[in-house]
């Protein structure tokens, strides 16, 4: 498992242990050295079962590769290299080499005064180990080919949707900033998350996304307040399910959303202790925006913006999802024979 904090990246090994050796000759049960005069016979240590324990050990520490804060890492399909991205640069590492990395993207301007755009996320293509994509704070995506040149400052393809003039405001740029980008498992599409929507892009179409889903459009009229309290800068992740038919992302009030690309249905669910006991089925939630208010609806003004679900993940093959809500991690799974859960 890779983790990154600030400018350092670590690779951890996770193991499970359910047995431990007992009956050492030289050390007692607490690990203290035995007084050798008390040892009168030799014994062979035996493995005894114990409670399952998960151990995490750091295996590699990749430090000093970044000047700015790392925002994403992505392991390549060749399983030998991976890339890490910070605000202005992307580096390519070899998994076994921790003191050296290659810089493959550098968008730092000669004069920092000219800086108007930063890198926000990046990912390797799931099948083509030479292709990767990175997103920017202006809402654009750049697909790069490492075979083209050593420094991939010139993109192969630029994906950008023209601004909608009817929705233009001073916050347009901020809400267009892409917080996460994920390739579909098929490798044909990319999923991006910006402040109010998730978008599906076809790799062959650079002019606009093929699908756009509204995550919480009712916040559009509240952008000024959200700018004031900094929530507008929150970075939400997004995820595909194993078959690329459903996409998922987090929102506020411990809500997360799922969109079925085929049926065009969507659902809002909540991850919180109060509303979910183990094995209980999650109840769909609804945010009401004026008009008819049903029972159990939440009004926009009573949403808790401190409860944000920024990190979500979907198992690559099973219908099991992981949702991080503040200090808690929720794991949900599909009810057998059910459509969306």
């Amino acid at each position: 498992v890779f983790s990154f904090k600030d400018k350092t990246i670590k690779l951890w090994k996770i193991t499970e242990r359910d047995k431990r050796p007992e009956g050492y000759n030289l050390k007692d049960e607490e690990g203290k050295l035995k007084d050798l005069s008390t040892v009168t016979s030799l014994q062979v240590p035996v493995l005894k079962p114990m409670d399952l324990m998960v151990e995490v050990t750091p295996r590699r520490i990749f430090a000093n590769g970044h000047t700015y804060h790392v925002n994403s890492i992505s392991v390549n399909s060749d399983c030998e290299t991976y890339m890490s991205a910070d605000d202005l640069r992307i580096n390519l590492w070899h998994l076994a080499i921790t003191d050296r990395s290659f810089n493959i993207v550098d968008i730092k301007p000669a004069n920092m005064e000219d800086l108007t755009e930063v890198i926000t996320a990046s990912e390797f293509h799931p099948h083509h180990c030479n292709l990767f994509v990175y997103s920017s704070s202006k809402g654009s995506l750049r697909l790069c080919d490492m075979r083209a040149s050593a420094l991939c400052d010139k993109h192969s393809k630029l994906y950008e949707e023209p601004e909608d003039p009817s929705n233009r405001s001073f916050f347009s740029e901020i809400i267009s900033s892409v917080s996460d980008v994920k390739f579909s498992h098929s490798g044909r599409y990319m999923l991006t998350r910006d402040y109010l929507t998730v978008k599906v892009w076809d790799l062959n179409m650079e002019t606009k996304p093929v699908e756009t889903y509204q995550v919480h459009d009712y916040l559009r009229s509240k952008l000024c307040s959200l700018y004031e309290n900094d929530c507008i800068f929150d970075k939400f992740e997004c995820a595909w399910n194993g078959s690329d038919s459903v996409i998922m992302t987090g929102a506020y009030n411990n809500f997360f959303r799922m969109f079925d690309r085929n049926t065009k249905r969507d659902v809002t669910l909540e991850a919180s202790r109060e509303s979910s006991k183990p094995r209980a089925i999650l109840k769909p939630r609804r945010v009401c925006v004026g008009g008819k208010r049903r029972k159990d609806d939440i009004s926009v003004d009573s949403l808790d913006f401190t409860k944000k679900i920024l990190h979500t993940a979907w198992h690559p093959t099973e219908n099991i999802i992981a949702i991080a809500a503040t200090n808690n991690l929720y794991i949900f799974q599909d009810k057998v024979n059910s459509e969306m859960h």
Partner: protein, 249 residues
Amino acid sequence: MFVRGLKRKCFDGEEDIDGTLAGIKAIPSYNLQRQSLLDMSLVKLQLCHMLVEPNLCRSVLIANTVRQIQEEMTQDGTWQMINTQSTGQASLDRLVSTDILCRSSREQAEGKHVAGYSTFNKDFEGDQAQDSSETMSTASSVQALRNLQSNVWEMENPQENKGNFQKSLDQIFETLENRSPNSVEDLFSEVDNSYYDLDTMLTGMMSNTKMGHCDGLETFSSPTTTTSNSNCKSDLNELDHIVEILVES
């Protein structure tokens, strides 16, 4: 934290377009709202600047917003009017700022001020006392903007003062930049605290498995260059190494 007394209202660019600079209105005009957004953004940038590890993405987005507002204000003449209304003082602004550039930092430290500059300080204090509110006329909004400007200047290291409004923004980026490599804080930032927390947890587990579980240590690659401080066998070695570097420098 934000400009007190100003009515905060959500707005998008299309509503309440006022067009005139008549100033005092019963409801907050578009210009006033835009002004308050500008003020809020400048305050945010200042606060960004004060953080030890500022968020570059956020700063860039806020700065771009400020630039957009500034451009729009220039286009519809608001900015121009603000500047021409107080031409004398405005040109003194720019004179003062370049003058600061020319002085050595020692002179600045000794507190040599041009008369105009100290007037600004007084204005700033005076304005802080009164609550700027909906009754803010264009003239006082000019004052507020310039006070924020001078505020930004005062917060900056005198050596970095470049003068006008646009540049104060850019200074913030420069200082963000300068905070980066080769500073002491950076060396310490590599010492990842979370690792230590995990470490205390691990020691509890590790003691049971110490005998057979040495491969964790083996896989740490050995230090290859003297300049690198990143390849260490354990957290203690890492810390020692960092201290060594500090002592040498």
